[in-house]
């Protein structure tokens, strides 16, 4: 039986510090927490993106671990290459972990991620989702939610922000018959830590999709990052779930959702939305939950 991780028993050691991420950065918090579970033995692959841009600037390296910046499309390919190399060199139970953002995962990196999961090799992939290309200046990605204003889907007079919904990356990963997949949020850190632990223990590929607010990109105070990441789960706009042994499971089923409008209005990217559009977002949420409760309940 694996010991449950919590705030009291996690490793005090830090493997990710001295980086140049913005104050209140959700992604860097996800990496910091994950590394407390993965440990300094893990080999890390990160594509060109915020986390690489803030932590590999010669001569200041922010990871205690072995770490490599990968070509943008190649997080999973490089991570599995590292795993294969280490295994072929005779290292026992090598741990290779990819961290990529939403664009690096759901858009440009989806092919190499699919190929890597398909090969069935042991590696962990953690998608730190902040719902747009933040490193290049807040452009729309395949994981930008409906209604969000980005610099390429601005809140225009004719079109009010992003018109598409988020890709279901968690289900896409699961559809490969992956060994383990989960969603998480930095608002629920214990849930995340234990999912990373499960990913570490499992035999084959593992995928964790974690919700990580971005104060710079979303237009909110750096002090409410974690609060927003909790609230998004409580409003039902994000969910905590797992896919294991071929089965989906919801980890948290809110009895009543917190009001969506209040949550959205705390973020500048949603402030332009009309009541009708907010109602549309609630309807999308309800349809998603209806399906999840029916199929995964």
């Amino acid at each position: 039986m694996i010991k449950k991780l919590n705030a009291r028993n996690i490793d005090a050691k830090e493997c990710f510090y001295g980086h140049k991420a913005c104050g209140g950065c959700g992604e860097s918090l996800a990496l910091r927490l994950a590394l407390k579970v993965l440990g300094e033995e893990a080999y890390l692959s990160l594509p060109a993106g915020c986390m690489a841009a803030v932590s590999f600037i010669y001569p200041n390296m922010a990871f205690k671990n072995n770490a490599v910046i990968t070509p943008f499309a190649s997080t999973a390919a490089v991570a599995t290459g590292i795993a294969a190399g280490l295994e072929a060199l005779g290292k026992e139970a090598p741990l290779s972990v990819g961290f990529a953002g939403d664009g690096g995962t759901a858009d440009i990196g989806i092919q190499s991620l699919s190929g890597a999961i398909d090969r069935g090799e042991k590696f962990i992939y953690i998608c730190t989702d902040n719902e747009a290309y933040m490193n290049t200046g807040i452009q729309k990605s395949g994981l930008t939610p409906f209604g969000a204003a980005t610099t390429t889907t601005p809140a225009g007079k004719a079109i009010h922000g992003c018109v598409t919904e988020k890709k279901n990356m968690f289900e896409i990963a699961a559809a490969h018959g992956i060994s383990y997949a989960a969603t998480a949020s930095i608002g629920y850190p214990e849930d995340f830590l234990n999912k990373v632990q499960k990913a570490k223990e499992c035999d084959g590929p593992a995928y964790i999709h974690i919700y990580t607010p971005c104060p710079t990109g979303w237009g909110h105070g750096s002090e409410i990052t974690v609060d927003l990441a909790k609230e998004v789960v409580d409003t039902g706009l994000w969910f905590l779930a797992e896919y294991e042994n071929g089965e989906f499971r919801l980890n948290k089923k809110p009895e009543n959702f917190k009001p969506v409008a209040d949550h959205l209005k705390r973020q500048a990217r949603f402030r332009h939305l009309s009541e009708i559009e907010i109602t549309q977002i609630e309807e999308m949420r309800d349809r998603k939950w209806e399906k999840m409760l029916k199929n995964w309940g």
Binding site: E40, E41, Y43, S45, A52, A53, S55, F56, I57, Y58, P59, M61, F63, K64, N65, N66, A67, V68, I69, T70, P71, A73, S74, A77, V78, A79, T80, G81, I82, A83, A84, G85, L86, E87, A88, L89, K91, S96, Q111, S112, S114, G115, A116, D118, R119
Partner: protein
């Protein structure tokens, strides 16, 4: 013990790889490289090679997986061609900039469009500036031997540069020749286990790799890489001398001459067409014409000194290009011509473009090239074996 076998160029490469004992192979199939990766797969599946074979979903990932495995110190091989080389091209300067000693076979093939699966050297020219050693081989034996030599070259700590072995599509990849397969023990003693470079990722002293360097550092990284590339000439020659001692065969250094010493006119070739050109040189010599040949084995680094020495006092030099840089001239010509100008060569240079999309380059074509050189007639850039007037 070595043995003789009847192998095509792809199989010869696969044997060279097998004997080099790589830890990881990551490859994606593309004509005309497929037989090489099929052969390697069968070696692995039959337990004849102890190696992780990664069935990647694209050439882009073939290179990315190779970057991953090489960055932890694993001996790594991949193979591609044409569109695949272009698709993975983002990863090429990435690997060379990180000083990763990956070895790759490129089965030279034309580039779409129009689609065409046959051999020319357009693909290699596209990535000439990627920081890889670009080596061209003439036959299947050289292909096999150069795989073994290339690992030794790439992994040398003064070099730490990936090597691309260019093998002409179909003419070499699909043509069977008698090839000597060296014994494993001999190869093991010539090419020992890879010695991990100190900048690579390791458990004792964790490293960050493929890092960022701002405008205050980037240029030094790049100039260092550029300078180290020139060390390839000496290392390649030294590796080839050792190779000859072990295996009794030599392929030479960056460039090799054939009946060039007293030649009035010289043709410069790369790859398999060199064989045809040799035959033409011999027959011209029989007629009393002082024709000679220089085979360029390396295009990067570019062997300016060797080339000038081999060309000597020849009155005219023709450069055979199986590629074209649209709106200019053949790329090998650009390189040779620039290099000869710098060295103070006074003769005339011609650029003979032929063999695009697998078009035959016949003995007659090469005779025509020598005629143009002897008479020093016609345009600087000339096209051969055209099917119709344009």
């Amino acid at each position: 013990m070595s043995e003789f076998a009847f192998l095509n160029g792809n199989e010869a490469v696969a044997w060279g790889v097998r004997l080099s004992r790589p830890h990881v192979i990551a490859a994606y199939p593309i004509t005309p490289q497929t037989k090489a990766v099929e052969k390697l797969s069968s070696f692995v599946q039959n337990g004849e090679m102890d190696c992780k074979y990664l069935h990647v979903e694209s050439e882009h990932s073939a290179m990315a997986c190779s970057i991953g495995s090489s960055s932890v110190g694993a001996r790594t091989f991949t193979a591609t061609s044409s569109q695949g080389l272009l698709y993975m091209s983002e990863g090429l300067p990435y690997a060379s900039g990180a000083r990763l000693p990956i070895v790759m076979m490129n089965a030279n093939r034309s580039i779409a469009t129009p689609w065409n699966i046959y051999g020319d050297q357009m693909d290699a020219m596209h990535v000439l500036n990627s920081g890889w050693v670009q080596l061209f081989v003439e036959d299947a034996q050289e292909a096999l031997d150069m795989v073994i030599q290339s690992f030794k070259l790439a992994e040398n700590h003064d070099i730490l540069t990936p090597v691309m072995i260019n093998v002409d599509g179909f003419v070499l990849t699909h043509t069977y020749e008698k090839v000597e397969i060296p014994g494993q023990e001999l190869v093991d003693s010539f090419l020992p286990a890879i010695e991990k470079a100190p900048h690579l990722m390791n458990d004792q002293d964790p490293m960050s790799l493929c890092i960022s360097a701002g405008n205050q550092h980037y240029m030094e990284f790049k100039i260092k890489q550029h300078r180290d590339m020139f060390k390839v000439f000496e290392q390649l020659e030294s590796i080839d001398r050792d190779f000859e001692k072990s295996f009794g065969r030599s392929h030479g250094g960056a460039a090799a001459g054939y009946r060039n010493e007293d030649a009035d006119v010289i043709l410069v070739t790369t790859g398999s067409v060199t064989g045809t050109a040799r035959v033409v040189v011999d027959s011209l010599r029989e007629q009393g014409i002082k024709a000679g040949l220089v085979k360029l084995r390396l295009l990067r680094p570019f062997p300016s000194d060797d080339l000038f020495e081999l060309i000597g006092k020849a009155g005219a030099v023709g450069i055979l290009d199986k590629n074209i840089s649209f709106g200019f001239e053949g790329t090998v010509y650009t390189n040779v011509n620039s290099s000869l100008l710098q060295k103070g060569y006074r003769g005339r240079t011609f650029n003979f473009i032929a063999g695009l999309g697998g078009r035959d380059i016949t003995k007659e074509n090469i005779e025509e090239m020598f005629s143009a050189l002897l008479e020093q007639k016609g345009e600087t850039v000339q096209y051969f074996n055209m099917g119709c007037a344009l």
